[in-house]
Structures are given as structure tokens and as C-alpha cells.
């Protein structure tokens, strides 16, 4: 990372100490994000106080980047997976009864606001636009949560929101302008073979180069097929590919490892055949 950014990052960490109660939420992500340029873009935006929306296809490393950013900034992470029924109470919180009185039981957004956490809004476009409208005041210059019946919760100055979205998935929707305008948007590029190699090597240090290259080759083949509309994005599964590589390293026959981690995930017979054929060219 650029030196000036590293310096500013250090200053940020010095300025914003973390409450002991949430120290456990600061965890090192399992793998480092690979992609210097994108990382620098995201760090710059966050240092400027912006919230970021990571937009990209499957297996582009959106969540890994989000977790790496929280780790770099040394902030506690609050993760919310959005779904069609996500509503304001899931995000902000609901009433509860403590010590003889009704109080607000903070949801992840409110907790991030209090402790200066990094709130990861995963697949933000899965929820309905009206459900996420409660986030507007949190994300813009007002930086506060106004819960009816309670005091306003102001945002901790270190609080940031990182949303992720995959535009093409079935069940996703368009984000409305009001919400998008409150984010800076980073388009995540597709991982290149070299980056994938580094990623797989880091994850399975004992894996042979031959197996890594075969897995990458297969992943790239399937990705190209999905981009060109020949198959769906189901088999383009980097998590599955990582699992397959681990299994191969553990002694399973490569073909079997790929079958249980990738091919068998195609429940559609037509697609299964096409994927199976590609696998056949790569693995004996």
C-alpha cells in the first residue's frame, strides 16, 4: 500500500481506540485480499469518511476485502446478511425488557454506531428498498440513528459501512438512487489466474502446483462459460474450488474432489453434463 495511506491509517488507529467489550470482534480474516489497487481505493475512501459499496460478480472477493478493511483499520466487525425479509428492526434493534423497564436491544447497525464498528451489509440488494430506507440517515451527513421513542444514537466517528452486492443474481433488485448516492462504489474486477494462484497457495500451502493450476484452469473455464451465458453461475464456485484443492491435498482423487465440491452442485441435468465435460478435460 502507498506510504501516505499507511501513515494515515496508523493515525486513524491511534485516534480511535476500541472499547474492550468488542475487542473480540476484531479478527484477522482467513486470507489476505489480493489486489493492491482496489485495496488502496477502498482505504482512501474509508479514510475520507465514506461508506463503500463493493459491486461485482461471484468470487471477486467482496467479503474478503470487507473483512480485510476492518482488520486494517482495526475495527470490530458487524456482519448482516440481507434477505428479502430484512427490516428496520433486524438492522437497528427492537424493544426488550431489562431491569424492570423496556429498553432498546441494539441491532448490529446500532452497535456499530456505538462502538465505531465496521458494519458489513452483505448482499444489500436482496432486501427491499423500503426496508433499508432506515439506513439513509446513518449513511449520509447526519450520521445518526433516530429510533422512535428513544434518544438518537449518534455515529461513532470511526463507524463505516461496507455493502456488497452481486448485480446479476436471481432474487436481487435494483438499488434505489437514494441509497446508492450514499455510497462510493467500487467495481470488483474478476480475479486473474495469477491472483487465484496466490490465493489458493496461501489457503493450501501443501497443495502441488499442478493441482492448483488445474483448479484455476477449471475455474476460469467455468467462469468464461457463465459470462457467456452457456451455464449459470452456480458452478463458478471459488469456495468449492478451495474445498476441492484441500481435499486433493488431503489425498482424495482429484476427480472425486472436484465432483463433490463443484460438479455435484449442479442439480440441473443439462448443466451438469456441460460442467462434467469441462472437468473431464482438466482432470484424469
Amino acid at each position: 500500500m502507498r506510504e501516505d495511506l499507511t501513515n494515515r491509517l496508523n493515525q486513524f488507529k491511534e485516534h480511535h481506540c476500541v472499547d474492550a467489550a468488542v475487542q473480540g470482534r476484531i479478527t484477522k480474516p482467513p486470507v489476505d485480499f489480493i489486489g493492491e489497487e482496489i485495496l488502496e481505493l477502498a482505504v482512501s475512501a474509508l479514510l475520507q469518511g465514506e461508506n463503500i459499496l463493493l459491486c461485482g460478480g461471484k468470487a471477486t472477493g467482496k467479503n474478503i476485502l470487507a473483512e480485510n478493511l476492518a482488520w486494517l483499520f482495526a475495527r470490530p466487525v458487524y456482519n448482516i446478511s440481507f434477505h428479502v425479509n430484512t427490516d428496520s428492526s433486524t438492522l437497528i434493534g427492537t424493544d426488550t425488557f431489562v431491569g424492570g423497564e423496556v429498553r432498546l436491544r441494539n441491532g448490529p447497525v446500532a452497535q456499530a454506531a456505538v462502538y465505531g464498528g465496521f458494519c458489513i451489509l452483505d448482499e444489500i440488494n436482496m432486501a427491499k428498498n423500503d426496508a433499508v430506507a432506515v439506513l439513509h440517515s446513518v449513511l449520509d451527513y447526519r450520521r445518526l440513528i433516530d429510533v422512535p421513542g428513544y434518544e438518537c444514537i449518534p455515529m461513532h466517528p470511526a463507524t463505516r459501512f461496507i455493502a456488497t452486492m452481486n448485480y446479476g443474481y436471481a432474487g436481487t433488485r435494483e438499488l434505489n438512487e437514494a441509497l446508492v448516492s450514499r455510497f462510493t462504489v467500487i467495481r470488483m474486477p474478476t480475479l486473474q489466474a495469477q491472483q487465484l494462484h496466490r490465493l489458493l497457495q496461501t489457503d493450501s500451502p501443501n497443495a502441488s502446483d499442478e493441482n492448483i493450476d488445474r483448479c484455476i484452469g477449471l475455474f476460469m473455464d467455468l467462469n468464461e462459460k457463465a459470462i457467456n451465458g452457456e451455464i449459470s453461475t452456480h458452478p463458478v464456485d471459488l469456495r468449492g474450488m478451495i474445498t476441492a484443492l484441500r481435499l486433493m491435498t488431503d489425498g482424495m482423487r482429484p476427480k472425486d474432489a472436484v465432483a463433490i465440491s463443484i460438479t455435484n452442485k449442479c442439480f440441473d441435468e443439462y448443466e451438469y453434463q456441460l460442467v462434467q465435460d469441462v472437468v473431464m478435460t482438466r482432470f484424469v
Binding site: V84, N85, D87, S89, T94, D95, T96, F97, G100, V102, R105, A170, G171, R173, D213, R214, G217, D221, E224, K225, I227, N228, G229, E230, S232, F267, D268, E269, Y270, E271, Q273, L274, D277, V278, V279, M280, T281, R282, F283, V284
Partner: protein, 582 residues
């Protein structure tokens, strides 16, 4: 673009996913292998993909064409080029795709076992057998070993043959590869092995686009012409596959189609511009140069008068109406039960689930428990269900095969539509059939029409062929524009997609809409819609033999019914299940 396994591998191995046709001589070279089916056809995708990646198929085609002009016998040269290309691709791509030799072995096993290329019938073919058994000794069988005995005393020639084929792996460009094959042609094949005259036929290689030859295509047709089957107006899949070669409309018949359609189906409800846009989007690939007609049907006046056409139309509608009249009570009951099934599904889907909890919405009436009970559970946790909206598209196959049960299909579709109207789910009902170049989509009711429009379904008429893939693609355009959260398409068909009356024959677009090509296209259109978030449900009324193909097309969202009488209820049931899963 719809693809099969061979094309899928071609695109992947060539690392170029643009849709493109094989050049002329490449097509001729690989045709026998692709027609052999099984692993031979699948592996052919690898060979062609590898050929494209290493040499470029256009470049190879260019050099093959030059040799054709130089009066080489392409019957002999093309198989040699194929052998060299296969070996080169296998050797050169093995490092990055180590599975290729295993695929080659399986393909070789098939070629030696069932001999689809008739290699055992000529001495030049024996060389192929020799090569396959030499490369894949495990595939050798009794028959191939017997053939190889003929080569006793020819050891030097075989050595030369092997060396020349192996040298092809070092070729760096298309020209070198073809020239290497030519060397084999001169030094081995034509020098030592006599031509095979036992199956002489007029060479298809003599007829080429390049020759500007305008005569009739005289390619041999080894298939027997199909037996006419007058008893069953709907030709089944196998028959259609054979018959398709012969049923082609003349230019005059084609010219008369638009007028015929206007008189029998009604005018288009799309503007010319909108129709051109839709055709530009969906009439591609196998549907290239096909046309669409979206119509709301004929005006009432078409049913009046004494003409034969008016009489036929009226008789058709009257038959449907009398079917409804005859089953009025059961139809009413059917509508109510389908409606009830929907209503239950919607209630389950939309009603919020409420639990007692220690957080959530405070329940005042439970406050007395404070200090008195250990775990007072003073709150309601409300789990709101999906309030999303749904739109349904019902596509009914109106091909001739449905004519025997036309009135029942009309009645059942009417019941289904009426039930959807009663619970106010926007839906469109269309039937589809294909006449010559035109696929007619007859709209009975549009998404937001009033319930009274449902009765228009009784104008349903079954005739001609069905191009399911094109109908799905065309219907999908309007559906995808809808604002509802969930979009569902229900296709009711009684057989496989089949458009055997193929309209204009185009030499550059050889595929007809029958058999595998039709299934592949429909498979692709279904998946394309699914990728865009549409739920496609197939309801099938047909023979056991076609079940596997229908399952291939619609996957798990597929339901088979035994009688047309079950259609309304089954469609309702499957839709209710889908609603619950949304």
C-alpha cells in the same frame, strides 16, 4: 445461443466463446464423428476447439480448400487431417488439460467397438484402426486385432505412417499441418492402399459453396424415406427427425403464409417497430430468419357468415363452449378448488408469523408477569413473510397434436386462468404454434385484463407445429418487463418441440427444429429465463419415451400428467407449491 456438449467443449477448449459456425471443410471433416454420437461426438468438440486454438479453424479451412482445388480426393484427405489434428491437439493440450487423453481413449473405444465410421470396410480405414489400437492398446478388441493381421509384411509402411502422424504434433501452423497430412496422403494412403470402391457414391466434396454451382444438391441419402402415417396427424419425434429432410415449403406457399395467418389467426397487436425489435432479439441462432405473429385473435365478424373458414372457426369455438357447458358444475368446482389452493399458499406465504419472545413488540396485556414469572416473554417477535408480488404467464402448446383433446385443454386452461383472476394474480394466457416461417402467439388475455376476458380462452384452436424455444423467448420479453417481484411461466405441452415444416432451407443454417436441436434450444431458453429470475414450470402430457427429454428441458420444475383433464388442477397445485417456495 443454444449449445450441446460438443459445442460447449469446442467453445471452452478454443477459449473463444463467440458464437460461430464451423467452416465448410471443417464441418465436412468432423461431421461423421459428430454424427457418431456418444463420447466420439463429445471429444470432437475438444479436437475442434483445440484445432481452433492452435491453428485457427478458418486458417485450416483455407488450406483444405486449396487442396480441394488442387484435385486432392477430399474423401481421403479429410480423415487424414482429422487424425493428425486429433493427435496434435491431444499432445499439445495435454499439459494444461490432462483429461484429454482419457477422453480420447473413450472415444477410440467407441469407434473400435461399434465402428460407426465403417473403418473395417476399407484398407485405408484399417490404417485408422491400426493407429487407434497403437495409441490406445487397451481399446483393442477381437475385431480390430483380426483387422490388424492384414498388415503382416507391411511393417516398414506402418513405421513410416506412425512417424508421419507423430511429426504432425510439431506443426506450428495450419499450413504445416495440412501439408503433413498431404505427405501421409501421398506417401502412405494412396501409394500403398487401394481406394475403397465398395461404397462408391457421388462425392459430397464435389459440391461446394465456392464452386458457384447452382444445380440440385445430390448428396446421397442413406436414410429410407419416412413411411407416411395418416392415422396420427402428429408425427412423433423419431418420425419427425426423418421427415424433416423432406418437408419444405415452396416459395409460393411461403409468400401466402402472412395472408393465411391474418385470415386464420387475426392481425398483429404489435406495431411493426416493436415486432422488429422483438424479432431482432429472439429470432437468432436456430430461429434465424423466423418470424413472429402476436395476435389477439380474429374479430367476431370472422365467425359469422357462410364461408368454409367461418364455419370451421365457429365449429371449433362451439365445441369448446359446449365442453364448458357440459361440464359447467365441475368447472365451477374446479375453479373454486384451484382458487382455494392458491389462497392457502398465498396466506401461508404472506401472513406474518408471531412468536412470544424477550424482545420485539411489547405486549401490554402480558405486563402483569413482570416480577411474578421467571421468564415473562413480554414481547411479540414478528417474522414478516414475503409480501412480494407475483405474475404468471401460461403458454399452451397449440400444435396439431393437441387437436384431439382441444376442447378439454381449452376448458382446463380456462379454469386455471379463472382461478388466478379470482385471487387477482396478474396473468397472461397465450397459445403458440408454428406455420412455415411464422410462430404465432395467440394472446387470449393480457396480464391486467378483467376476469371476463378469461372466456376468450375458449377460442383456443390446435393446429400445425410447435417451436417451444422461440415461443418461450418471445413470451419472456414482455414478462421480464413486468414490475412484479416473482415471475412464473407455465408451459403446457403434449410432446417435444418440433417444427418439421421448416420453411426456407438455408444452406448455411443446417439445423432443423426437430429432435436434439429442438430439445437443446428449448433447454437453453428455459435456462436463460431462469437465469433472469423467472420460474419456468413444464407440464407435460405425453409418452413415456419422451419423459427423459422433458425432464432434461425443465429439470425438477416439471410435472407429468396422464390426462388433459388433470391439467387445471395439476397446474394449480404446482403453482401453489412454487408460490410457497418463493
Amino acid at each position: 445461443m443454444s449449445i450441446d456438449r460438443e459445442e460447449s467443449l469446442f467453445l471452452t477448449v478454443s477459449e473463444d466463446h463467440r458464437e460461430r459456425a464451423y467452416p465448410e471443410y471443417i464441418l465436412l471433416m468432423s461431421d461423421p464423428y459428430r454424427k457418431a454420437g456418444g463420447m466420439t461426438a463429445v471429444y470432437e468438440g475438444v479436437i475442434l476447439g483445440g484445432g481452433d486454438k492452435l491453428f485457427g479453424l478458418e486458417e485450416l479451412n483455407l488450406w483444405l480448400r486449396r487442396h480441394r482445388y488442387a484435385a486432392y480426393n477430399m474423401h481421403v484427405l479429410l480423415p487424414i487431417v482429422h487424425m493428425c489434428l486429433e493427435y496434435t491437439v491431444r499432445r499439445r493440450l495435454e499439459p494444461e488439460r490432462p483429461g484429454i487423453p482419457a477422453m480420447a481413449e473413450q472415444a477410440a473405444g467407441q469407434l473400435l467397438e461399434s465402428d460407426p465410421l465403417r473403418l473395417r470396410h476399407s484398407s485405408r480405414g484399417w490404417l485408422n484402426i491400426y493407429w487407434l489400437t497403437e495409441q490406445f492398446p487397451r481399446c483393442a478388441n477381437e475385431e480390430s486385432r483380426r483387422v490388424l493381421k492384414h498388415f503382416t509384411g507391411f511393417e516398414d509402411v506402418l513405421q513410416l505412417f506412425q512417424r508421419l502422424v507423430r511429426d504432425s504434433a510439431a506443426c506450428t501452423d495450419a499450413r504445416a499441418l495440412v501439408e503433413q497430412a498431404v505427405l501421409l496422403y501421398k506417401e502412405v494412403f494412396t501409394k500403398y492402399f487401394a481406394p475403397d470402391h465398395s461404397h462408391d457414391e457421388l462425392s459430397v466434396f464435389e459440391i461446394s459453396n465456392d464452386d458457384m454451382w447452382e444445380g440440385e444438391y445430390l448428396a446421397p441419402d442413406s436414410e429410407e424415406p419416412p413411411e407416411p402415417d395418416k392415422s396420427d396427424p402428429a408425427l412423433n419425434y423419431e418420425k419427425a427427425d426423418m421427415a424433416a429432410n423432406d418437408v419444405t415449403l415452396s416459395e409460393e406457399a411461403m409468400a401466402a403464409i402472412p395472408e393465411y395467418l391474418a385470415q386464420n389467426f387475426g392481425p398483429s397487436f404489435q406495431t411493426e417497430k416493436a415486432l422488429a425489435e422483438i424479432e431482432h432479439t429472439v429470432c437468432v441462432g436456430i430461429h434465424e430468419e423466423r418470424r413472429l405473429l402476436f395476435t389477439d385473435g380474429l374479430p367476431e365478424s370472422a365467425y359469422e357468415g357462410t364461408t368454409a373458414r367461418a364455419g370451421a372457426l365457429k365449429a371449433c369455438r362451439d365445441a369448446n363452449l359446449s365442453m364448458l357447458k357440459g361440464h359447467e358444475d365441475s368447472a365451477r368446482q374446479g375453479i373454486r378448488s384451484i382458487e382455494q389452493a392458491f389462497q392457502n399458499a398465498l396466506n401461508l406465504k404472506n401472513d406474518p408469523e408471531v412468536y412470544r419472545s424477550d424482545r420485539g413488540v411489547l405486549v401490554n396485556s402480558a405486563l402483569w408477569k413482570v416480577g411474578r414469572c421467571e421468564d415473562p416473554q413480554l414481547f411479540h417477535k414478528i417474522f414478516r413473510q414475503d409480501q412480494s408480488t407475483v405474475v404468471v404467464e401460461l403458454l399452451i402448446d397449440a400444435s396439431g397434436s393437441q387437436s384431439v383433446r382441444q376442447s378439454m385443454v381449452a376448458l382446463q386452461s380456462y379454469m386455471f386462468s379463472a382461478a388466478l383472476s379470482r385471487i387477482q394474480i396478474p396473468h397472461r394466457v397465450m397459445s403458440y404454434c408454428t406455420y412455415g416461417n411464422y410462430t404465432v402467439l395467440r394472446r387470449f388475455r393480457d396480464y391486467d385484463d378483467k376476469p371476463a376476458t378469461d372466456r376468450k380462452i375458449l377460442e383456443y384452436r390446435a393446429t400445425s407445429n410447435n417451436r417451444d424455444g422461440l415461443a418461450l423467448a418471445a413470451a419472456g420479453i414482455d414478462l421480464l418487463k413486468r414490475r412484479e417481484d416473482h415471475k412464473i411461466v407455465i408451459v403446457f405441452s403434449d410432446g417435444l418441440p418440433n417444427d418439421m415444416v421448416s420453411g426456407r432451407v438455408r444452406p448455411d443454417v443446417p439445423e432443423k427444429y426437430v429432435g436434439d436441436a429442438a430439445i437443446r434450444d428449448t433447454c437453453f431458453q428455459v435456462r436463460k429465463l431462469r437465469r433472469e429470475g423467472v420460474h419456468v414450470i413444464g407440464i407435460f402430457l405425453g409418452d413415456d419415451g419422451e419423459l427423459e427429454n422433458e425432464r432434461m428441458i425443465y429439470g425438477s420444475s416439471f410435472l407429468r400428467i396422464r390426462r388433459a383433464e388433470d391439467f387445471g388442477g395439476s397446474a394449480g397445485k404446482r403453482l401453489s407449491e412454487t408460490l410457497l417456495l418463493l
